[in-house]
């Protein structure tokens, strides 16, 4: 057993940390304040190969492992939660389904430009009325045969909500009902939808509690036509594909949560050491010291879970239980630690002059996105108990 990172992983970590602190940190505040998507920063990440870290090289990516990806998202999130979310959604949710279910032609046409950082990806699963209950998907896709005898076209109608990278993505992977299964349940299939498809619009960008520089939006499909070959995976396989995608996506959201927690901790420790009250550093009071001790311990435990889930995935082993545990634990740790960091800072923590209030606002999303904490508990309990739990 070895808890040390390999030289490559350590080098990746220090490279990303250096870049984030030197090149990216100076522009975070203005983008967050102006709710502005960091187009230029994302372009540079693409050039450096950061937008396809776990995607194989022949599919346009860097061909690194899941642990590398988790380390990268943590280090990005440690400086800028919004950017961490942008990269995680692009990689896990945008590139992920194409890597998993795409044909050679689909990969060449859509995945390579995304994984090599030229096109941003997004994933449209959630709908106004279908969040955790993805079976309630109302968006439909209907196959219209071509009079010329070619494969025909899918006609997509409906809408999606809370979609990360909305309006910025060039390629969307979306799910839609394509019929009804024998048991009466919805037959869900996945489709590749280029952003310039006629009838497709981003109708709203959400105003969120945090993660202001990431774009979250509502997608509308009004008789959107895509060629038959834009069906991703087999018809009716959309549900199974997205469950696998969410398994992997959880690792990245857990890593993002970890980065935000680490950022809050990195701010709280020097503050506790240097801020003086009653003639001594506030860290010498147990009330503050013990908060720091708890933060450090919880972060350490969360990182162990995140890295273990990544490691299991890299070993080709079943990682879905540990990924759900990592996502659940790291996101809740992130909320606790970022909240405690504000407490350590006192009044300074509550004002925007210090960055710690941003960490808490950003961290809250990690308890909701890609499966709420309650859904993670359901996934975990079902796997352990083998019972239907509602």
């Amino acid at each position: 057993m070895d808890f040390d990172l390999s030289t490559e992983h350590a080098l990746l970590r220090s490279t990303i940390r250096d870049f984030m602190e030197s090149e990216v940190a100076p522009v975070v505040e203005e983008h967050e304040r102006e709710h502005r998507f960091p187009v230029e920063v994302v372009r540079r990440l693409g050039e450096m190969g950061w937008l396809g870290i776990p995607i194989p090289e022949d599919e346009g990516g860097a061909g690194m492992d899941t642990l590398s990806y988790a380390i990268a998202i943590e280090e990005i999130g440690r400086v800028w939660g919004s950017l961490g979310l942008i990269v995680a959604a692009h990689t896990s949710l945008g590139c992920g389904p194409l890597h998993l279910a795409g044909t050679k032609e689909q990969k060449d046409r859509y995945l390579i430009p995304m994984a090599s950082g030229k096109v941003i990806g997004a994933y449209g699963l959630t709908e106004p009325g279908a969040g955790s209950d993805a079976g309630g998907t109302r968006t439909t896709a209907r196959l219209e045969s071509d009079t010329n005898g070619a494969g025909g076209e899918w006609v997509i109608d409906g809408s999606k909500r809370f979609i990360t990278n909305a309006g910025q993505a060039g390629t969307y992977i979306i799910t839609a009902r394509t019929g009804t299964k024998e048991g009466g349940g919805a037959e869900i299939s996945a489709f590749i939808l280029p952003a310039d498809t006629p009838g497709f619009r981003v109708v709203r960008i959400e105003d969120k509690l945090g993660l202001h520089a990431s774009a979250t939006g509502e997608l509308a499909f009004d008789r959107c036509r895509v060629p038959a070959e834009n069906l991703l995976g087999e018809r009716g396989d959309g549900f199974r594909t997205f469950l696998k995608i969410l398994d992997g996506g959880r690792i990245s959201i857990a890593a993002l949560a970890l980065g935000l927690a680490q950022a809050a901790y990195d701010a709280a420790v020097p503050y506790a050491q240097t801020r003086e009250q009653f003639g001594k550093p506030i860290g010498s009071f147990q009330g503050v010291a013990f908060m720091i001790a708890d933060m450090a311990t919880e972060i350490e435990a969360a990182r162990a879970l995140v890295w273990k889930s990544a490691w299991l995935k890299d070993q080709g082993r079943d990682y879905s239980l540990v990924a759900a545990q990592a996502k659940l634990f790291a996101s809740e740790v992130s909320s606790r630690v970022t909240n405690a960091a504000i407490q350590v800072h006192g009044g300074y923590g509550y004002v925007t002059e210090y960055p710690v209030e941003r960490f808490l606002r950003d961290a809250k999303l990690t308890e909701i996105g890609e499966g709420t904490s309650q859904v993670q508990r359901l996934v975990i309990a079902r796997k352990i108990l083998g019972l239907r739990i509602g």
């Binding site: 990746l12 490279t15 250096d18 450096m48 190969g49």
Partner: protein, 264 residues
Amino acid sequence: MALRIVVLTKPVPDPAAAAERLGPDGRLDRAASPAVINGNDEYTLEAALKLADSMGAEVTLLSMAPPTGVETMRKGLAMGAHRGVLVTDPALAGADGWSTVQVLAAALRTLEYDLVLAGFDTSDGVGGVVGAGIATLLKLPLLSSAAKIEPNADAGTVRVRRISPTGFDVLEAPMPALIVGTQLLGEPRYPSLKGIMAARSKEVVTKSLADLGLDAAAFGGAAARTKVTGTTKPPARGATQVVRGTPEEGAKAIADLLASRRLI
């Protein structure tokens, strides 16, 4: 034929980690201190890599360090250097500048090169003498304070723009030559992800003093001509005054502050 460049890269305590430890003799405990490539050495490495990009060059990293120096070197390899040579020997613990000069010169005698690049100084020792020392021992032309390096492979010469108090001088020397660089050579690149992956399979040759035909007793702490007589921690920083406001307001407040202390 491609230019052959040796870049001297010293592992130094990571300034960002600020976790360096001193041993009982007051010297740095290198094994216990997280190390990175000396900052100034990254600028000369960048210059070498730019030459490799523009005219083709084989870039070799040369370090004298404990065995962990191999890991530190990986970053340079990930940036694009082709291979590494690490001189490591337990007898070198506590080596001073003079030992370093002799050992690196001996290592260079085993290598083929057109240029040797050295950083301006190192962030731990801050001696700034190793480059000049090696040039002296190996009888190489020494071109110092380089802001720009322009080799002419056909003519077998190298031209350097050397910064001076009034501007710059242009120096030219036959190759092989030793060049001491400055930060004006340009910001070091970040390793790309592909570079990090590729670094794994690049060769790092390790050499002991015996491999270089050197007598271990003549180097290291016992043979050092300089010694540490004592260490003190720098005083804690005083209270910091933070200036806030628009750039204009901030600039005026800082100028007023400096003026009030008669610093400008």
